[in-house]
Structure formats: structure tokens, C-alpha cells
Symmetry: C2
Subunit: 171 residues, 2 copies
């Protein structure tokens, strides 16, 4: 599961939508936004309805989400440019079979998140994008198998083409 921290509806709508769609496409089971945003929820639910699931999006209070996750579910992995390089940690992370909450910040992340997380992981030591960091992390976690992930109960499907666009209706 992915936790999107500090979403600011005015500023972050499109980037948060990209984060959520990447979470879905790269194999996470759902995303929690720490600020409710009906517009983002609608866009993401529309994609799940058309292209398949399962995938959920909801909002929740961050400290409660993190504490309950640690107590009941598993480990917390915070993606941040300040953390340990993903390539040095990914094998350990894969070995642990605990459920994973991946925390992705927008703007400044409170210090407590660094402390509460089981690990702080960086995807390069350069400033770029939480959308890319999440995609690369999930890609490495799932060994590229997510690229072939099948979705259930969707109504549309792309049929890959050398040139041109083919979408078929499947339901």
C-alpha cells in the first residue's frame, strides 16, 4: 500500500494523480491520501473502473495510518532523496515478507516520518520526482514482473502495436 503524504489539493492534484496511477499500474493494492481530494479520487476510481483492479484510493490521518500499519500489518518504507540507495537495500527489503507501506511525500516531510519508518530509501541522490521514485522502487521490488500484471474486471484493454493505437472493449 502507498501513503501519499502532504497532498495539497490546489498545487498537487496532477502529480498526486500520477502517483496514484503509478501505484496502481506497478502493483500496489491501494493508496491513502493524507488530505481528502474528491477530484483525484474520482479520476483514479474512473481508471480502475475502466482498466481494472483491484485498487482502492481513500484518505486517512497520516500518524494513525503509520502507527496502525506498524502495529498490525508490517513495515514502513519511506522514499526520500536523503535515504539509503535503493540498490543497496532492495534485496533485504525483498527478503522480508512483511506487508509494505510505501510513504511518498509532497513538499517537506516531518522529521518524525524519518524516525517512524523502518527504512528511508533514496532512488538516486538527485532531486527529481516522487512519481519516478515510486515507479522505480516498485519495479525493483517486483523484479519487473509488474510490467506483465493483469487486472480484473476492466472494460478496456490496449493491444500493443508497432505503429498506431488499438484499444478493445472487454466488458
Amino acid at each position: 500500500m502507498v501513503l501519499r503524504l502532504g497532498h495539497r489539493p490546489q498545487r498537487d492534484k496532477r502529480v498526486t494523480t500520477h502517483v496514484a496511477l503509478v501505484a496502481r499500474a506497478f502493483g500496489a493494492d491501494g493508496i491513502i491520501l493524507t488530505t481528502k481530494d474528491a477530484g483525484v479520487e474520482r479520476s483514479v476510481n474512473k481508471v480502475t473502473e475502466l482498466w481494472g483492479g483491484p485498487f482502492f484510493i481513500r484518505s486517512g490521518e497520516p500518524w494513525q495510518v503509520v502507527r496502525e500499519w506498524k502495529k498490525n500489518e508490517g513495515e514502513v518504507i519511506h522514499l526520500t532523496v536523503y535515504g539509503v540507495p535503493v540498490q543497496d537495500k532492495i534485496n533485504d527489503i525483498k527478503k522480508s515478507r512483511r506487508n509494505k507501506l510505501i510513504v511518498v511525500g509532497a513538499g517537506k516531510v516531518p522529521r518524525e516520518i524519518f524516525d517512524l519508518s523502518d527504512c528511508n530509501i533514496s532512488v538516486t541522490q538527485q532531486p527529481h520526482s516522487e512519481v519516478a521514485a515510486l515507479a522505480i522502487f516498485l519495479h525493483m521490488l517486483f523484479d519487473g514482473k509488474e510490467l506483465n500484471k493483469a487486472f480484473s474486471n476492466g472494460r478496456l484493454k490496449v493491444v500493443p502495436q508497432e505503429k498506431g493505437k488499438v484499444i478493445v472493449r472487454t466488458g
Copy 2:
């Protein structure tokens, strides 16, 4: 090099900035926007100045960029959900030693781009994010080596930490 097609300054400023920063962080040498955007150029140049290069950002007319690339430089690879799965093509793409122009669209991409491109490549067959598609493509193209890429003449550097944030001034 990356070509960002159809950038709309009102709507795409932040997502295009993410695309450009991913291009830089994941090893591309520069990006061309098909619509001039001084704000995005400023943000990206500021990152290159602080965190190192080389990396360029400029604007250019898309058809001219694509045609000149094909004539003088190498091949054109268009990232699109409609294309052939990246995992089926990446080995062929790696084998070709020609310089690569990676085309990333915003909004609807004209049909001619599908035809002019040497290949149309999809990163999953699901709708998600051009930021993620570019990151995954470059990550697969460079075999993960881009995660260790060094930058020159930057003034800041992150020192990875298990907890907390350390940035050092290097110039």
C-alpha cells in the same frame, strides 16, 4: 536526449518539470520542450547549477527536431501506452548503438509521431504517467547503472542516511 511533446504551460508546468528532472537524474543529456516555458527552464537550470550536470533544456519545433535527429543523429523512440512492451524490445534497443531521442507526450500525440518514430514503446499497458514511463525506460536502458551516476560541477550533494537528512556543500 528527451523531447517533451505538447507541453501546455498553464496545465503541465509541474509534470513537465518532473519529466525534465527525471531525464537529468536518469542519465539523459538534455531535454527539448516543444513549447517554450521560461519558468520550467529556470527551475531545471537551477537544479543543474546546484546539483551538477551536464544537462541542457531548450525549446524547439517538434517536426524539425525529429527530422533532424533521424537525419543526423540516430533513432527516435516514442513512449506511448499503445506501443510494444518495453520488456520485449529493450534488448534490441540496447544493442543498437545509435543516439536515441526519447519522445514523451503530454495529452494527445499526433499520429505522425507514431509513424516517424523508429519504435513505439509501452511501459505497461495501463494509463499512468509519462514521468514514470521515462524513468523506467531509462532505468532499463542503462541497466540500473544510472542510479550511481555522478554529476559534475554541482554545489550540493546528499550523503545517504538511515535516518535524517545530510546535504554537504561541495563548491
